[in-house]
Symmetry: C2
């Protein structure tokens, strides 16, 4: 029996993964915000290194209450909007629905579970360069893999979704969620924050010896924190991340795009939550805390 999908937050991430699923023949219902009128008339355009496609007509909504109940909900919201989930999810979930938070940061599934104690929840980690470039228009520039990790669902339930992703031409894998979230933070914490505080892009941070050393020091601090809460990430993972970033094109991380557009920064999920978890385990993230405070200052000066 085919799974029925909903996408909440149809932006660069939700639009790409949901779009690929729809393109492969799955039933996908998309919740739009500002782009709703446009997409209803003109459809969703996805330009992608793996091949462009256009979805028209598209099952688009601007109110969750108009959407059908779905088996799988892909959440592509900014974490700064996660407080909306309480209201948005109610109309579209049944007792066995799986909600997958395709977001960066820590503590997201935990927070959602508080509002929905019985809900099946998973996390998704997208390794992708994808931007929204206009109304109903997404540009997928590089990479594309998604890792899926169970939080309060069965592995079996998640594997079925993983199979749908793979069938849609997306590289997907089921992984251990907590470890994966911490490993992703090893990249996200230094590059997101530093690109905002120093108002720059990844290539400039990599080419300057001082900022490159600081990126490395921040990575090591994230690794130490991750290991303090029970993972075992080797220091060499920091070198891997630096090498990986060196092969990337000049890149503005998502927080830099948010900063440039004066949108709220995902400080709580990407900084405060890891800092709190590490502290509880007895590890003080000195440099990451400094970055957190600098970002808070910057956001409050908007």
């Amino acid at each position: 029996m085919s799974l029925k999908y909903a996408v909440i937050g149809t932006g660069a991430i939700g639009g790409y993964y949901g779009g690929k699923l729809a393109q492969s023949g799955k039933e996908v219902h998309f919740l739009f915000h500002s782009d709703y009128e446009y997409v209803k008339k003109k459809g969703l355009q996805v330009d992608s290194i793996t091949g462009n496609f256009h979805l028209y007509p598209i099952s688009a909504y601007n109110k969750a209450t108009d959407m059908p109940v779905c088996d799988v909900v892909l959440v592509g919201l900014k974490t700064t909007n996660n407080s909306l989930l309480k209201e948005l999810l109610h109309p579209i979930i049944h007792q066995n629905s799986l909600v997958i938070l395709i977001q960066n940061g820590l503590g997201l599934e935990e927070n959602l579970q508080k509002d929905f104690p019985e809900l099946k929840i998973a996390g998704g980690l997208a390794f992708i360069c994808s931007n929204k470039v206009g109304e109903g228009h997404i540009n997928h520039l590089d990479y594309g893999k998604i890792n899926l990790g169970a939080y309060s669902c069965s592995e079996e339930q998640l594997l079925a979704v993983c199979a749908d992703f793979i069938q849609a031409g997306i590289e997907a894998e089921v992984i251990e969620l907590n470890l994966a979230r911490w490993k992703k933070l090893v990249w996200n914490i230094p590059y997101n924050g530093m690109s905002v505080v120093l108002n720059t892009t990844t290539d400039k941070l990599m080419n300057n010896p001082s900022s490159r050393q600081l990126l490395y020091d921040l990575m090591i601090e994230v690794i130490r924190a991750g290991n303090a809460v029970g993972n075992s990430i080797p220091d060499s993972f920091a070198d891997e991340m630096l090498e990986m970033t060196e092969t990337m094109k000049p890149y503005a991380p998502s927080m830099k795009l948010d900063y440039d557009a004066k949108r709220p920064l995902e400080i709580d999920a990407i900084y405060s939550s890891p800092i709190r978890k590490a502290l509880k385990a007895g590890y003080v993230m000195q440099k990451v805390s400094m970055l957190e405070r600098q970002l808070q200052f910057i956001q409050e000066q908007y």
Copy 2:
């Protein structure tokens, strides 16, 4: 017998203190750089909360080799220009001359002593809001005290200079140099760096809870480092500095003025040197090192 003074680097600091000495009747010879032609013709104007004055004619030079040998040399250069001292001092010092480095940071006297092993050296710490506002024009806005500390001179020699300062209407005191330099860093390290990295002024840093907490954390780190190298500064000194800054008018620290004018930043004296000294004593300045690297990145993007 009256002491003969030279001022090397006649800017906001050197111009004010040298100007006050000259105004009180002392023989003072001023080395100018870009303002030489103007000052030779029009003199030096000092606007001051303690009373405006104008020095004309003024004993101005644009080459140290034209200056007479002096008993006391007040150095008001930016520390980033201290490499010039080797050449500038030779023509104006005799075997008992005293050179006073009125500068911020650490290791300055030590560096100079390497080039002049027999020279009598002292440090000066200016607690003053003073700006150069135009050619031959200095504006003294607030405070004005100078603390003088012996490095390789006798206390007696320094007390004679201190007496001249006091006679010129300047609040002056002889203090313990190493302790005084570290205490001044407790203010300079957080406010200078943070105002550059976050592109802001002291009042905004004070009014935001995140940046205020970070200022405090940086201060505590400087206090720990200072104590690791042999001082005993209480944590309460950080609270004193916060309270003192609260009473100040919105203020752009000197490094922020340098940054705005795209001049070299005094990173080595104010950051790298204290970090190295603390490290030698076994203390790692985590947050201050992060600020150092951010400043290095910013300067290298000019």
